[in-house]
């Protein structure tokens, strides 16, 4: 019970969620992550129409992480409620990640789906016209957040890109738009080239870095957002063990999400939970004690 957390009203048995886009396209896979111990699961980002994504290669290893340019493949919200419903069988909160090209698209999608919360993906670094092209513009972020808030009753989270000069200004825009929380960070812009041929490796040429390499970037974003915002921050980026999760919470994350590390170890949610529990017990700390601790010392 030590790890129970409430985030924007959602009760979580632990603060470790499955991140968006990770095993998130099917109800069955979301359910599996929940059964593996996730406190909540976030779906793949869902759009207005079915989308095949970028051509392969769409993911490649880089030092301490991965580079991906999936291109937001998704079956569209019209085919997605049944997946959410299947995921709901696991009895953990299911958060629908959604994306669109305009406030109207975002609210059309959110309005049509039934989920425990919505995560607005305005931060994919490699989807032209969607994603980061929206998430770098405070006005658009505020407008979209506001539109979705008006369209749904569930909590609305806004997922931020680190690929901006000042992430706080985007977080503040989300907050003004009525967001219940922000999620930081989406992947970090990057690229890899095959030296045997000169070809950019990804089908899309460039993509987003995830995994351990980006953890310090994410920690800094969470730290800054915690200072700047009144709404909670959910941390994501490079978590691969319980120590990383603790570091995020100390930086100011109310809860965390885990993405890339799920590939090697889908049981990471329960592994982290039990180690974090043991750590807190040994230190005689509660989750609340360590929440934002780096700001107090």
């Amino acid at each position: 019970m030590m790890l129970a957390a409430t985030v924007t009203g959602l009760k979580l048995k632990n603060p470790m969620m499955l991140a968006a886009g990770i095993m998130g396209t099917t109800g069955g896979s979301l359910k599996r992550a929940a059964q593996a111990g996730a406190g909540a699961v976030v779906t793949k980002s869902i759009g207005i129409a079915p989308k095949a994504g970028h051509s392969n290669p769409s993911m490649v290893d880089v030092d301490c992480g991965y580079l991906n340019a999936m291109g937001l493949p998704n079956p569209s919200y019209k085919n997605f409620q049944e997946e959410i419903d299947k995921a709901k069988e696991s009895e953990v909160p299911v958060i629908a990640s959604i994306f669109g090209g305009s406030a109207d698209e975002f609210s059309e999608i959110a309005g049509a789906l039934c989920a425990d919360a919505f995560e607005l993906n305005v931060s994919c670094p490699h989807a032209r016209g969607y994603g980061a092209e929206i998430g770098t513009d405070p006005k658009l972020v505020e407008e979209i957040t506001h539109a979705v808030k008006s369209a749904v009753n569930a909590p609305v989270w806004v997922k931020l890109t680190p690929n901006v000069t000042d992430i706080k200004s985007i977080g503040l825009a989300a907050q003004r738009g009525g967001a219940d929380a922000v999620v930081a960070i989406n992947t970090v812009r990057g690229m890899a080239i095959d030296i045997e041929s000169g070809y950019p490796i990804l089908g899309n040429k460039f993509g987003g870095i995830s995994g351990r390499a980006i953890k310090p970037v994410a920690i800094k974003c969470v730290y800054d957002l915690y200072e700047a915002l009144d709404i909670p921050v959910i941390g994501v980026g490079g978590i691969s063990d319980w120590k990383d999760a603790v570091e995020f919470i100390m930086a100011g994350a109310r809860a965390v999400q885990i993405g890339s590390a799920v590939g090697e170890n889908i049981d990471i949610f329960s592994d982290i939970s039990s180690c974090m529990d043991a750590f807190l017990t040994e230190k005689e700390w509660t989750l609340d004690d360590i929440y934002g601790m780096a700001h107090e010392v």
Partner: protein, 248 residues
């Protein structure tokens, strides 16, 4: 890992639609594992490893056609091997291959055969000149053939060759999913292993594109026991690139 550069050293025409591309790099593999083959500028697609230094490709669309344009000295990028591979058992085993599904089964037949396992292979193809790796299976044990057009062996589906499946300690199967589904329905699920084909994007168990319910074909598979598959969407529907369900 990043794609390894593999230079093609030899191209063998196996059938009118299937070619084997040998390259200058070898991979330690468990039969049934696969690699991601990057045809630069075109696509990256999953392929079984029928040898430790080759892939055997059926031409079906843009990427495989682009592969067919390549010859000696051309190069491709290879990530892998990925996935679990077949769980090799002792005793008497039955292999059931449909079309290019023979690719991952051939090294299994060889490995089992040379370990003293009694291997029987049922080989199915559209027509007799499309039969793949017949010699490799014959060298490892008994082979029975079925062709859709009756040009050789049984006229009909390879599944029609299955009889008395109980006498085998394990059954290994790779081919079109509806063929594999038929096999699953005919044998004891706990004694059968199936190598699945699903749309593979990341290949490393992260994106979820390949999921059969909660199972990742690229990471938890591509080989699954019939027992596991029984409870899933296997044979009922697959997912296309968008993640939409497509019924068989």
């Amino acid at each position: 890992m990043k794609p390894v550069n593999a230079v093609i050293t030899k191209v063998v025409d196996e059938t009118p639609t299937i070619r084997t591309f040998f390259f200058d790099t070898s991979f330690e593999l468990i039969p049934g594992q696969f690699v991601m083959v990057w045809i630069r500028g075109v696509d990256e697609i999953p392929m079984a490893l029928p040898y430790e230094n080759a892939i055997t490709v059926q031409k079906v669309g843009p990427a495989t056609s682009a592969l067919f344009e390549l010859g000696e000295c051309d190069s491709i990028g290879i990530r892998g091997p990925f996935g679990n591979g077949f769980d090799i058992t002792k005793g008497r085993i039955l292999l059931v291959a449909g079309g290019v599904g023979a690719a991952p089964l051939a090294p299994l037949a060889e490995k089992a055969g040379s370990a003293g396992v009694e291997v029987t292979t049922l080989l199915g193809a559209r027509t007799n000149d499309e039969i793949l790796f017949r010699e490799r299976f014959e060298a490892a044990g008994d082979v029975r053939i079925a062709t859709d057009d009756g040009s050789e062996g049984k006229h009909g589906y390879v599944t029609q060759l299955i009889e008395d499946s109980k006498k085998y300690s394990q059954i290994y199967c790779c081919g079109p999913e509806n063929m594999m589904k038929k096999v699953l329905d005919m044998v004891a699920p706990s004694k059968a292993q199936f190598s699945l084909h699903r749309y593979i994007k990341c290949g490393i168990g992260i994106c979820g594109a390949c999921c059969v319910d909660g199972l990742r074909v690229c990471k938890d598979g591509p080989v699954f026991s019939g027992e596991v598959l029984k409870k899933t969407e296997f044979g009922v529907y697959r997912r296309n690139e968008c993640g939409e369900r497509v019924r068989f």
